[in-house]
C-alpha cells in the first residue's frame, strides 16, 4: 500500500469513528432485538416471534430472510462479550426510557464495526476495479454513504458489498464465485435479484453455463428457505416487507411502470457497447427506482457504488447528480418520523427526540401540507430521473 493510500484509509477510518457513536436509528435496535435470539438457541425466529408475541417487549415480526438472521445472529453472538451485560437490558427495553441508556454510543459503535469493515473493503474493491484514486476518495468521503451506513446503521451494506464483489469477480473471470456472491446477497435481502439479469448477460455465455450461473445465483436463497417453505409464520412476516409490491405500485392506466422502464433499460444494456454499460444500467435503474418507488432511505445504498462510478466517469452534467441527491434528502427530511431527523442524535442527548421535526415545523408554522410537498418532490424526482436517463444514455 502506498503512502497516499494509507493516508486516505486512515483518514476514512477517523471520519467514521467520529460519526459512528453519535448517530442512531431505531432500526438498528429492532434488528438486534431479533438477532439476540440466535445466541439463545432459537433457529426459527419467525415461529418464535409468532408464538411468543404477547410476552415479547418488542412485538413486531422479523421481516428479513433467514440468512440475514443467521449471519447477524452469529455476528452479535461474537460481539456480545465486548458489548457488556447492560446491552441486553437496552436491547429489551422498549419502555418510556428506551432511548435514555447512556451507553448507546458504545453499543452502536461496536455494532457498526462489521459495517465499517465492509464499507472500507467495498471502497478498496472499487479502487482495484477502476484504478482511480478519485473513486476511492468519492466512496470514502461522500456524505451519502456515510449517512446510509453510519447514521441509519442498516445492514444493507452487506448485500451491497456482495453485489459489487460479484461484479468485480465477474470482471476477473471468476464466474462461479461471482454468482455465488450475488447468490448470497439475494439470500440476505431479495433486492439484488434486480441486478442479476444484467450480470448474467454481461458476457456472452453458452446456454449450459448460463443455466449453471442462474442455479448458483439462486442456490443460497433456495437452500436457506427450504426449512421455512411450509411455515405460515415465515410468509406472514416476510411478505409484510413488500419490495415487490412497492415496485408495482406506480401505475399509469393500471400498467405498472417500473417493470416497463426496467425492460427498456435492459434492452439498452444488451445493445450498448459502452465499457460501463453495467454500471450505467444500474444507475438508470436507480433513477427510475427513486422516482417511482416509495423507497426507504437505506435502499439508496444498493445502487450507490455503481451510481458513484457513473458520476466519476461522466464528462458533462456534473451538477445533475448532486442536485438529484439534494432533492432525495429533502424528500427524506419530510417524512413524519422524528427518528429520521433529530432522532438520529439520541446518543448525543435523548432530548433531541422532542425537538420539532421539519415535518412538524411546516405543518404547524406554514399553510403548506408537508405530505403534498413531499409528493411534489417525488414527482420532480420521477421527471428528473427520466431526464437523467435520456441525458446519460446519450453521453458516450
Amino acid at each position: 500500500m502506498s503512502k497516499s493510500e494509507k493516508c486516505i484509509l486512515i483518514l476514512a477510518i477517523i471520519v467514521r469513528f467520529l460519526i459512528m457513536p453519535f448517530f442512531y436509528h431505531p432500526d438498528m435496535k429492532t434488528q438486534n432485538f431479533h438477532f439476540q435470539f440466535f445466541s439463545k438457541g432459537i433457529f426459527n425466529i419467525y415461529d418464535y416471534v409468532a408464538k411468543n408475541k404477547s410476552s415479547l417487549p418488542y412485538q413486531d415480526t422479523f421481516n428479513y430472510l433467514p440468512l440475514t438472521y443467521y449471519t447477524f445472529g452469529v455476528t452479535q453472538t461474537l460481539t456480545k462479550p465486548f458489548l457488556g451485560k447492560d446491552f441486553n437490558l437496552w436491547i429489551n427495553n422498549w419502555g418510556e426510557n428506551q432511548n435514555s441508556d447512556p451507553n448507546i454510543p458504545f453499543y452502536i459503535t461496536l455494532l457498526k464495526i462489521p459495517y465499517l469493515l465492509l464499507d472500507l473493503s467495498l471502497g478498496w474493491f472499487l479502487y482495484k476495479q477502476y484504478k482511480s484514486k478519485k473513486i476511492l476518495m468519492l466512496w470514502y468521503f461522500n456524505p451519502i454513504s456515510l449517512y446510509l451506513i453510519y447514521v441509519l446503521g442498516n445492514f444493507d451494506i452487506l448485500p451491497t458489498f456482495l453485489t459489487f464483489l460479484s461484479f468485480y469477480l465477474l470482471k476477473k473471470e471468476k464466474t462461479n464465485w461471482a454468482y455465488l456472491s450475488i447468490g448470497i446477497a439475494i439470500a440476505l435481502k431479495i433486492y439484488p435479484i434486480l441486478f442479476l439479469p444484467f450480470l448474467m448477460f454481461y458476457k456472452k455465455e453458452k446456454v449450459l453455463s448460463f443455466i449453471k450461473n442462474g442455479l448458483i445465483s439462486l442456490a443460497p436463497l433456495v437452500i436457506s428457505l427450504i426449512p421455512f417453505i411450509f411455515q405460515k409464520s415465515f410468509y406472514d412476516a416476510f411478505l409484510g416487507s413488500g419490495l415487490t409490491q412497492k415496485l408495482l405500485e406506480f401505475r399509469i392506466q393500471n400498467i405498472p411502470i417500473f417493470p416497463v422502464f426496467y425492460i427498456l433499460i435492459f434492452i439498452h444494456f444488451i445493445i450498448s457497447k459502452s465499457k460501463l454499460k453495467f454500471e450505467k444500467s444500474i444507475f438508470f435503474i436507480f433513477l427510475i427506482f427513486i422516482g417511482m418507488v416509495n423507497f426507504h432511505p437505506q435502499w439508496i445504498l444498493w445502487f450507490l457504488p455503481f451510481v458513484l462510478v457513473t458520476f466519476n466517469n461522466q464528462t458533462k452534467f456534473y451538477i445533475f447528480l448532486p442536485l438529484f441527491f439534494v432533492l432525495v434528502f429533502v424528500y427524506i427530511l419530510l417524512f413524519n418520523d422524528s427518528y429520521l431527523f433529530w432522532g438520529h442524535l439520541i446518543p448525543v442527548d435523548p432530548n433531541f427526540l422532542s425537538v420539532t421535526s421539519p415535518f412538524q415545523i411546516i405543518k404547524l408554522k406554514t399553510h403548506f401540507d408537508p405530505v403534498n410537498i413531499q409528493n411534489n418532490i417525488h414527482s420532480i424526482l420521477f421527471l428528473s430521473g427520466i431526464l437523467g436517463i435520456i441525458l446519460y444514455a446519450k453521453e458516450k
Binding site: C7, I10, I14, L18, P102, T109, D349
Partner: protein
Amino acid sequence: MQKKNKILILIVSETLFLIFILVILPSLFIKERPGISQTSFQNTLSLDTKNSYTQEIITDKSNLQTVSVLLKNPALQNTSHVNIELLDNNKNIIRSLTTSGVSIADPSWISFKFPFVPSKSGDKFFIKLTSDNPKTDTLFVYGNLKDKSIDYKTTYTSGSIKSSFKNTIMEQINLFHQRNLVHVSLFIIILIILNILLLISL
C-alpha cells in the same frame, strides 16, 4: 503544506466537530428538558366532582414549562372536562388549562404546556386537578391511593442561549458520569492512535 500544519488542521477539525455535535447543536435546538417526575403507576384514582387532587412539586431546574399527568378514560367514553391549575407556593393560581375527556386515552399522559413560569430550582408549586365529571369511577388519574399523590412529569425551558449552553454542558457532564469509563477511554485512545498513525503515514 507542511506535515505539522496538516495534522494540526485535522486535530482542530476533529475537536471542533466534537464540540459542535456535543455542545453547540444541543444548545441551539434543545429548548425543553425533562425534570422532576413521579411515576409510580400504582393505583387509578377516580377523578370526579367529589374527588380532586392537589400535588406538591419542588422544581429541580429553572423555568417550568410543562406539567403532565397520567389520565385514564376507560373505553374512551367519558367526555367531561378536566381542569388543571398550577398554583404557586402561596396557593395562588398562576396557570390554568382545561381539556375534555375526548382528548384522554386509556391511558395517556396529558401534557399541559403553558407560557413558561420564571422560576428557580427548588421553588415549590402545586398542581390541582379537578373535573366536572358527575360519575365516580369513570375517569381516572394514576397515583397512590394511600397518600392521594398523583403521577406527574415536568419539563423546563432553557430560556436564554446562555442558559441553554449551561444546561447542555451540565447534561453532557451528567451523561459522561453515567457512561462506562472504559468505553469512553477506549474511544479516545482509538482516535489518538488513528491520528498518530496518520501523522506517521503523512
